[in-house]
């Protein structure tokens, strides 16, 4: 017999001493790799996203848009690789966000962006300041949050402690950014006294200038004297608040005026600009403090490519050390986020799943092949995975939920090669036609080549998923790569290690001497009874085909009937969620704090909530979702974030998504009472988007866009299942515009700039320098400002004074130095703050956002539902606006709506997966043609592919699950597995026919002989997937593999032989 590649390999290794060594070595490197590969929860996704902040002081949003945003956008879109350009034009500045195509090199993109921007800076109008460019990356997301809270200490003291700890932590290797959220900084406040200023004839601007001038120190140079260089230095930095208070700011009469004469200088906490509180909630262990305490959060990010869990452990150890001395006893440090721990947890849960899957599969194999056979298969799986993990390590992949998912996914498939080989050796040993060694090699030769082909069919099935584009790409690509690698290794293991093991472990059963006869086996009898009627009677055959066809149609019909709904990814079960509170623009910080606090008080009573922390006026530490949604910019006075931590998932029954759904009503009720907009934000399982449901509204003018947006928002609110409706249009905020009377100002010798600066200094305060102290880690600023009690009304402002510059302004001949009240120079105009202008890809857009929960969980159905209502909306011009799904409108002349958000990604993913599936089918077809040298046979084999739908769709219906992206992956992979079964089946028929058997007998015999390995391999896939059924995200995949696997296996064993019989009958008869 001529040996194939498989046989040659087996011959080489079956008795070689090197085989066991190779096996042990692979196992060892695999174990090492497992521990050395960095662990993290989310896959490393490079989303080159860059934020550009371009200040244009004084400009209105329309002006900022026209002069800054538009030209910048236009030049940026010219850069190759730029995917989207978004911009927001606000009063005084523009934010332009550039998003590159996923996978573009971050550094190169930055350089390209920088050079393009610089090339065009000369075209910017005067007054535009230098842009600030910030790269946004996944490593900005803190992996560890430590909340410092105390019953006795105030935010100022807490921050001081936290800053000290941060400084200490910075020394740890691999640590990234360490930041402090909340608390109050130390500041030297120069609190102006208006009466005294007037009395001593001093203006605020004068104070600022004097402080700046006094705060200098300089090395003047050196001179030589007696062979010595002597350094001359002059000036002295301000080192304490006393230094500041004793600055001479002017002369009044004949005596100097000190700063302390006209202002009080206070060294202490800055004015309150944020509220950050921490509290334990209903699920906190007994004895936890029950109140709500001032808090400061220390966030720790990690460096790229380092292990989150190792870093977190090191940081925690260091903090424990500091607790003994540096951190006061009454300050408690609580761990409010530890992605290291959750990553380790996730990784070990997945590894556990992996082991369970392997053991379950082994038991099934043991059932058919006996414990020795099971052992052969069992031994081969760890070797396969060990090698795959090694490759992960070498390719710089981290161990995360996606890479491990790839392994679980293939568990059922990688055992197949070993099963087929071991089973066939087992069968040949049982037949006893040849001596053991010869029998083993014959067995391998018989199935070796189809096994190789089958492996490549499965690889062909999963590999095209690499080409999924967009943000979902990085989530998906480790999967086909990992699965393909595992498949290749499993093939090598099956051809090298399995024969070696099987040869030694499998026993020839004793007392089994009669000649092997296939027709006497139970399988043969079974298939003879099942298949014979269909082979003999064409009528019965067509009835059978009809039944199968009906089942297929019925299954597919479940989708339009909405019995099975499509959704990209279901929600994962996480240990946290956030509540985002937006008060109308122009709400005072304390009012926002009050609403946020009240919502927190409600959340505190929810039984699953462990602790909560709210941040008002400052953003909560961001997560990956917040990164994409720009939550780090939520620092306005009308914004509050509540971070809600739940009890660990194994200690509660409810999934985090259900808890979020449950609390929504209570939260919304409180929010509505205060006219606030609250959103429950869960961590999305896949790539984050602006919001689950986004309607982008385009149109000829901002007024029309907003008018339509208002109507659309109403439609959103009225649609059941659509929740957390919001839009990105600011509420009206009152503005007092102090218009300078130019003639009068010129006459009095005052410049407009002077007035603006005086006002700014009085209201917002002005930093005039830093205190040069070496004890403080945070810089201590010196700020000039009016006391809060003196800046509460227009009346307060009009009693401010500016000093006449006299002839210095070149407009007047009056004497300089006269104090002129502002009320004389300005007139007040009350206005409404102009609204920000949002643009996306060079077009003005107004966003209406919402989430879906309850009645519909999938945005697609909510969108279809709302389409009808939106089409009925009346717009000026009398046309109807029908929302677009896949592309932005072609012109701005008419109002138009485009759906975005999760839909956009869903659309891209299913489109790419669909394309991948089509490519898969073609590749499989080509592969089989190459093998069987026939155009017809591959088609017969591929009949099994649609048959899997008969199982997959009703399977989802039975489980009440969504048909998700993972379901689709399961379906694609199943195509490979099913075709492999057909290959093995038909290959055997052809071997038997070549040996001279007649067609009918060959067909039935092949079904009988191949049933065992086919059921075994499909069984392995099914059993291996069972463990995934309880994972919220991978459930879809499990359902596809289990239900699709079971049904299409049964149908394949019956339908494929019959179809083959019909097709071959004509050519066989003559």
């Amino acid at each position: 017999m001529n040996d194939g590649i498989a046989g040659k390999l087996a011959k080489q290794f079956i008795n070689s001493k090197i085989t066991p060594l190779l096996m042990v070595a692979s196992l060892l490197v695999g174990i090492m790799a497992t521990f050395m590969t960095p662990r993290e929860e989310e896959p490393q996704i490079v989303v080159p996203m860059v934020d550009l902040y371009i200040p244009y002081p004084g400009a209105t949003p329309a002006e900022v848009e026209l002069r800054v945003a538009k030209p910048v956008e236009r030049t940026l879109t010219e850069i190759p690789g730029v995917d989207y350009v978004y911009s927001t034009s606000m009063p005084d500045f523009a934010v332009v966000t550039v998003r590159y195509k996923v996978g573009e090199d971050a550094e190169k993109s930055m350089v390209k962006l920088w050079s393009t921007l610089m090339k065009n800076m000369d075209k910017m109008p005067p007054g535009v300041q230098f842009p600030l460019m910030k790269k946004v990356s996944i490593d900005d997301v803190p992996v560890l949050n430590l909340t410092f809270w105390s019953k006795t200490k105030d935010p100022f003291q807490l921050r001081k402690t936290a800053v000290g700890v941060a400084d200490e932590l910075k020394k740890i290797k691999n640590i990234g950014d360490v930041e402090i959220k909340g608390g109050l900084k130390r500041q030297v406040k120069i609190v102006l006294n208006k009466e005294k200023l007037r009395q001593f004839n001093v203006s605020p601007l004068q104070i600022a200038r004097q402080v700046q001038l006094s705060n200098t120190q300089m090395t003047a140079g050196d001179f030589k004297q007696m062979n010595e260089e002597i350094i001359v230095r002059s000036g002295r930095f301000l080192e304490s608040s006393d230094d500041v208070a004793n600055i001479v700011i002017g002369i009044y009469g004949a005596s100097p005026v000190y700063l302390r004469d006209v202002a009080s200088v206070v060294d202490g906490p800055e004015e309150v600009n944020n509220y950050n509180f921490f509290g334990h909630a209903a699920a906190a262990p007994n004895g936890s403090a029950s109140g709500e305490y001032p808090a400061v959060t220390l966030t720790v990010a990690k460096r790229q490519g380092s292990d989150a869990s190792k870093l977190a452990d090191k940081v925690l150890a260091r903090v424990d050390n500091l607790k003994k001395g540096f951190i006061p006893a009454d300050v408690t440090v609580s761990e409010t986020r530890n992605y290291g721990a959750t990553a380790t947890d996730k990784v070990f849960t997945l590894l556990e799943h992996l082991i369970v899957a392997v053991v379950a599969v082994t038991i099934v194999v043991g059932f058919f092949l006996g414990w020795r056979g099971a052992l052969v298969v069992f031994a081969s799986v760890p070797i396969t995975f060990a090698l795959t993990l090694l490759i992960y390590y070498l390719l710089d992949y981290s161990l995360n939920r996606v890479t491990l998912f790839a392994l679980i996914f293939v568990t059922g498939i990688v055992v197949d090669d070993s099963i087929i080989i071991a089973e066939n050796i087992h069968r040949h040993f049982a037949m006893k036609r040849q001596p053991r060694l010869q029998a083993a090699i014959t067995a391998i030769n018989e199935v070796g080549n189809p096994t190789i082909l089958a492996t490549f069919t499965v690889i062909a099935a999963v590999l095209p998923m690499v080409f999924v584009s967009g943000l979902m790409g990085p989530y998906m690509s480790p999967m086909p790569i990992g699965a393909s690698l595992a498949m290749i290794f499993s093939l090598l293991v099956a051809l090298i290690a399995t024969p070696w093991l099987a040869f030694r472990l499998l026993k020839t059963e004793e007392g089994h001497h009669e000649e092997y006869d296939i027709t006497k086996t139970n399988y043969y009898k079974l298939f003879n009874t099942i298949l014979s009627p269909f082979i003999e009677s064409s009528f019965k055959r067509w009835i059978a085909f009809g039944v199968v066809g009906l089942m297929l149609v019925g299954a597919i019909a479940l989708v339009p009937m909405k019995a099975v709904q499509m959704k990209m990814l279901p929600f994962d079960n996480k240990n946290e969620f956030q509540v985002i509170v937006d008060m109308p623009e122009g709400t005072a910080l304390e009012q926002t704090a009050r609403v946020t606090k009240e919502i927190s008080a409600y959340l505190k009573t929810v039984p699953e909530v462990l602790s909560y922390q709210y941040y008002v006026g400052i953003n909560a530490p961001i997560n990956f979702n917040g990164l994409v949604r720009h939550y780090y910019m939520r620092q306005a006075k009308n914004m509050g974030d509540i971070q809600v931590n739940l009890v660990p998932k194994d200690e509660r029954k409810a999934q985090s998504h259900d808890i979020a759904k449950k609390v929504r009503a209570g939260v919304q009720q409180i929010a509505q009472r205060y006219n606030a907009n609250a959103k429950i934000v869960e961590i999305p399982p896949g790539p984050p988007v602006l919001s689950t449901l986004v309607a982008e509204i385009y149109g000829p003018s901002q007024e029309q866009q907003i008018a339509l947006a208002r109507q659309v928002k109403k439609v959103f609110q009225e649609t059941p299942g659509v929740v957390d409706v919001d839009w990105m249009v600011e509420d009206d905020q009152k503005v007092y515009d102090l218009v300078v009377n130019k003639e009068r100002a010129a006459f009095r010798g005052v410049s407009a700039e002077q007035i603006a600066q005086t006002l700014r200094m009085s209201l917002a305060g002005m930093d005039v320098g830093v205190l040069h102290t070496d004890k403080e880690l945070d810089p201590v600023t010196i700020q000039v400002r009016l006391p809060q009690s003196d800046r509460t009304s227009l009346h307060d402002l009009s009693t401010l004074f500016v000093q006449s510059q006299g002839m210095g302004t070149l407009t007047t001949r009056l004497r300089a130095g006269e104090m002129i009240p502002l009320s004389e120079l300005v007139t007040v105009q009350e206005k409404i703050q102009e609204k920000s202008i949002y643009r996306k890809d060079l077009r003005r857009v107004v966003y209406v956002t919402a989430d879906v929960a309850g009645a519909t969980e999938s945005p697609v159905y909510a969108m279809l539902n709302m389409d009808k209502k939106i089409e009925q909306l009346k717009v000026p011009g009398g046309y109807s606006v029908s929302p677009l799904y896949t592309a932005s409108p072609t012109s701005d002349e008419k109002l138009a709506i485009k759906w975005d958000g999760e839909w956009q990604i869903t659309f891209e993913v299913f489109r790419d997966l669909g394309t991948a599936f089509a490519v898969v089918l073609v590749i499989i077809y080509l592969l089989i043609i190459g093998w069987f040298q026939s155009f017809k046979t591959p088609l017969i084999m591929m009949i099994a592919i649609p048959l899997s739908l008969v199982g997959i769709i009703p399977g989802h219906f039975v489980h009440g699950a969504f048909f998700t992206a993972t379901s689709m992956i399961g379906m694609i992979a199943l195509a490979g597995i099913m075709v492999r079964n057909s290959v093995l089946l038909i290959d055997f028929i052809q071997i038997r026919r070549a040996e001279g058997a007649d067609l009918k007998r060959a067909v039935i015999e092949s079904a009988a002989v191949r049933t065992k390995p086919i059921i075994l391999t499909s069984g392995a896939v099914v059993i291996g997937s069972l463990v995934m059924l309880f994972d919220p995200i991978f459930q879809g995949l499990a359902i596809s593999l289990i239900w699709g696997g079971v049904l299409s296996t049964i149908l394949t064993l019956v339908v494929v032989p019959i179809v083959y019989y019909i097709v071959e009958k004509k050519s066989a008869k003559p």
Binding site: D154, Y275, A281, G291, P294, R594, Q788, T792, S793
Partner: protein, 137 residues
């Protein structure tokens, strides 16, 4: 005067049994029930509006109601459910023993008139509105 004494006596009569009942019902299992157990009588005043020198309408609370935690300023608010909550506020200038509230309180809300360190957030109280404020309502 005698009316005032009678009122105080009555509230005491109500408060003492409630207090005792609260003590008996001590349940360390949950934070919620623990804080509910405490009952105290507090005198509350309503947040009033006043007219400032410049002619603007402002809200005021008695200076005695205010307490500070470092730079943070707060009052105790007795809500409709008779529970005390800490409300963070920002204050402006003083007006004859009252402080102008710039943010954090609404007109007519009841705040504890005189702050005492023994007050705890979350406790249920019996409100006694002081005479001075009844005129404003």
């Amino acid at each position: 005067m005698s009316v005032d004494i009678k009122k105080k006596f009555l509230t005491l009569l109500v408060a003492i049994p409630l207090f005792i009942a609260g003590c008996g019902n001590h349940d360390p299992e949950s934070i919620k029930s623990r804080s509910k157990a405490l009952v105290a009588v507090v005198s509350v005043v309503a947040v009033r509006s006043a007219v400032e020198a410049g002619g603007d309408e402002v809200l005021v609370v008695p200076a005695s109601a205010i307490f500070r935690k470092g730079e943070l300023t707060a009052v105790f608010v007795a809500g409709a459910d008779n529970r005390l909550t800490v409300r963070w506020i920002s204050t402006g200038r003083t007006m004859q023993g009252d402080l102008v509230v710039l943010g954090g309180l609404d007109k007519g809300e009841l705040v504890v008139g005189v702050y005492s360190p023994s007050l705890v957030e979350g406790v249920t109280v019996i409100k006694s509105v002081t005479a001075e404020d009844q005129t404003h309502e």
